[in-house]
C-alpha cells in the first residue's frame, strides 16, 4: 500500500488515446445497458409518444388542409406527418424533458464522487448519455415512427445525403441537449434547489425546440432570431427540417453547421461552469 496517495492515477500513460476511446466506449455502453433495464417504462413511454403522435398529426394535417395553398410554413402534408412522427420518436432521444440527475447529485452531495473519477465530470455524463440516446434510437424512436408510417403517408427524403446528415444532426442535438441540461442542472451548485430552472427548461424546450408546432409557423424574423440566438431549435426542429428537406441543400447544411456551433459553445460553457463550481463546492460530511 506504499505509493498510494490522494492523486488520481492516469489510466495507461503510454497509450492515452486508445484508452481514452475505450473508457468513453465503456461509459457509453453502461448508459445503454442502464436504460435497457427499464423495459416497462420504455413500453409505457412509447405508447404515450404514439398517442400524442396521433393528436399532433391530425391537428397539423387539419392546419394544412385549411391553409392557403395547403403548405403552412412551407411544409406539404406528408412533410408535416413526418415532422410529427419523427419528432415524437426523437424527443426521447434528445431527452427534451426531465433530467435531474446532476441536480439531485449536487443536492445530496453524491457529486463529490464524480470529482474523484479519472474522467472529467462532463465526459462522465456525456458518454453515458450518448449510450442512452443510442438505446432510445432503437426502442423509443422506431416504435412511434412505425405506427405513424402504418396510419399516415410519410415523406421519403429524395437527396442521397439527407439521411447521413440527419444522423449527424441527431448526434449534435444529443450533445447540445446534454450541454444545456448540464448547465440547467449545474445551477444547483449555487441555488441548491434547481427545480425552478428545470421547470423553466422543460417549458421552453418544448415550445422553442419545435415540438408543439413547427417554428416555421412563426413570423420569419422570430424564427431566425430563435435559431441564431437560442440553442433550442437545434434540439429538435433542425434534425426534423433536415429529414423532411424543408430547405434547399445549402440551407440544410447551414442549419447543421449552426447546430455544431451551438453544441461546441454549450459543452465549452458546461466545462467552464463545472470548473467554477468545483472551486466553490463544499462537500458535506467526512
Amino acid at each position: 500500500m506504499d505509493g498510494l496517495d490522494a492523486r488520481v492515477p492516469v489510466i495507461s500513460p503510454r497509450r492515452p488515446f486508445r484508452d481514452w476511446v475505450s473508457t468513453f466506449g465503456a461509459l457509453s455502453w453502461s448508459g445503454f445497458r442502464r436504460y435497457a433495464t427499464y423495459r416497462q417504462a420504455t413500453i409505457a413511454g412509447s405508447f404515450t409518444n404514439t398517442v400524442f403522435g396521433f393528436l399532433r398529426c391530425y391537428v397539423l394535417l387539419a392546419v394544412a388542409a385549411g391553409a392557403a395553398g395547403g403548405r403552412p410554413g412551407g411544409y406539404g402534408a406528408e412533410q408535416l406527418a413526418s415532422f410529427v412522427w419523427v419528432g415524437q420518436g426523437l424527443l426521447t432521444v434528445v431527452s427534451l424533458w426531465g433530467w435531474t440527475e446532476l441536480a439531485d447529485r449536487i443536492r445530496s452531495g453524491d457529486v463529490a464522487a464524480d470529482l474523484l473519477r479519472p474522467v472529467p465530470p462532463i465526459v462522465g455524463y456525456l458518454a453515458p448519455d450518448l449510450g442512452r440516446a443510442g438505446h432510445a434510437m432503437i426502442f423509443r424512436f422506431l416504435p412511434p415512427l412505425a405506427v405513424g408510417a402504418l396510419f399516415f403517408d410519410l415523406y421519403a427524403p429524395s437527396r442521397w445525403f439527407t439521411v447521413p446528415l440527419f444522423a449527424l444532426s441527431i448526434v449534435l442535438a444529443v450533445v447540445a441537449s446534454l450541454g444545456l441540461r448540464f448547465l440547467v442542472n449545474a445551477t444547483a451548485y449555487w441555488l441548491h434547489d434547481a427545480r425552478g430552472p428545470i421547470a423553466l427548461w422543460t417549458l421552453s424546450a418544448g415550445v422553442l425546440a419545435g415540438l408543439y408546432f413547427p417554428l416555421r409557423f412563426l413570423p420569419d424574423w422570430l424564427a431566425v432570431l430563435l435559431w441564431v440566438a437560442t440553442p433550442f431549435p437545434g434540439l429538435l426542429q433542425t434534425p426534423l427540417d433536415v429529414l423532411v428537406e424543408r430547405d434547399p441543400a445549402p440551407v440544410q447544411l447551414g442549419l447543421v453547421a449552426l447546430q455544431a456551433v451551438w453544441a461546441t459553445a454549450l459543452i465549452t460553457a458546461a466545462v467552464f461552469v463545472q470548473r467554477r463550481a468545483e472551486r466553490r463546492l463544499v462537500a458535506q460530511g467526512g
Binding site: Q40, A41, A44, F47, V51, V59, G66, A199, F217
Partner: protein
C-alpha cells in the same frame, strides 16, 4: 368535524411547506402561468398559419380551447397530483395513508395540493371570457347555464380521468407515462374541434371515452352551430351526464384498486 379538522391540518401543513421555499414557489407559480399562456399562444400560432382548422375560425377555436383548459386547469388544481400515486405505491407511502382513519383519496389530494397551479385556472377563465366576447354569443338562459356547467363538468370529467389513470399504478407500478396519454393527451384532444381528428381514433377518444363532450359539443351549443359530424344540438348539454358517468367509473376503479393493493413489502 374531527375529520374536517384533520383534512385542514393536512392541507395547511402542505401549504406551509410549499410557502417556506419562497423563491422556488414564486418560480413555480410564474412557470405555471407562462405554461398556460403558451398553450393559448400555440393555438394562435397554428391559426396564424391557416385560415381555418376543420372549418372553424380562430374565435371559435379559441372558445373550444378555453372551455377545455378551464375544465382541465380546475381538475389539475384539485386532483391533478394524484398521478404521483405510483411513487407513493413504490415507496410505501401508500401504507401510511391507508392506516389513517381517513378516506385515502382526499388525503392524497390534500397531501400535495398544487397551489402553484391556481394561476392556470385564472388564465383559463380569462381566455374563456375573451372567447365569449369575440364570438358574439346570443345569450339564452340555457346557454348561460351551459357556460357555467360545461367547465365544471369538464373539471369533474378530467378529475375522473386523472383518478382512473393513476389507479393503474395499483396493478402496474411501473406504468410510467401511460396515464399522461389520457390526461394531458385528453386535454390536447379537447383543445381542438373534434372534426380535426378522423377514423377510429376520433371514435375512440371523442365518443367511446367521451372527450368530445368536454369542450367541442358545448362550444357548438354556445355558438348555435350544427355539428358537422351529425350529433343533435342537445348533445352540447350532455357534458354533466358524461362527467357523472366518468366519475362513477372512476369511483369503481379506485375502490377496486385500493382493495387490490397489497403494499410493496418491507
Amino acid at each position: 368535524m374531527g375529520e374536517l379538522r384533520a383534512y385542514a391540518a393536512l392541507f395547511s401543513g402542505q401549504f406551509r411547506s410549499v410557502a417556506s421555499y419562497r423563491a422556488s414557489f414564486v418560480a413555480d407559480l410564474v412557470t405555471n402561468l407562462f405554461g398556460t399562456v403558451l398553450d393559448v399562444l400555440a393555438v394562435l400560432v397554428l391559426f396564424r398559419a391557416t385560415r381555418s382548422v376543420a372549418g372553424f375560425t380562430l374565435a371559435q377555436g379559441l372558445l373550444v380551447v378555453s372551455l377545455s383548459s378551464c375544465g382541465f386547469a380546475l381538475a389539475d388544481l384539485t386532483v391533478g397530483n394524484i398521478d404521483r400515486l405510483k411513487t407513493y405505491v413504490r415507496t410505501g407511502t401508500m401504507d401510511a395513508v391507508l392506516v389513517r382513519p381517513l378516506a385515502a383519496l382526499p388525503q392524497l389530494v390534500l397531501m400535495d395540493l398544487p397551489v402553484r397551479k391556481a394561476l392556470r385556472a385564472v388564465v383559463a377563465v380569462s381566455v374563456l371570457v375573451v372567447a365569449l366576447r369575440l364570438n358574439h354569443v346570443e345569450w339564452t338562459p340555457g346557454r348561460a347555464l351551459l357556460v357555467v356547467s360545461a367547465p365544471l363538468a369538464g373539471a369533474v370529467f378530467f378529475g375522473a380521468i386523472f383518478v382512473i389513470s393513476a389507479s393503474l399504478a395499483f396493478w402496474w407500478v411501473e406504468s410510467g407515462e401511460i396515464g399522461h396519454a389520457f390526461t394531458y393527451g385528453g386535454r390536447d384532444f379537447t383543445a381542438y374541434p373534434t372534426p380535426v381528428y378522423s377514423g377510429w381514433f376520433r371514435g375512440l377518444f371523442a365518443y367511446a371515452m367521451g372527450f368530445g363532450f368536454v369542450a367541442y359539443q358545448p362550444a357548438l351549443a354556445l355558438l348555435g352551430r350544427a355539428d358537422p359530424l351529425g350529433l343533435p344540438a342537445w348533445a352540447g348539454f350532455l357534458s354533466p351526464l358524461v362527467a357523472l358517468v366518468a366519475a362513477g367509473i372512476a369511483a369503481v376503479v379506485w375502490r377496486t384498486g385500493i382493495r387490490h393493493y397489497r403494499s410493496t413489502g418491507s
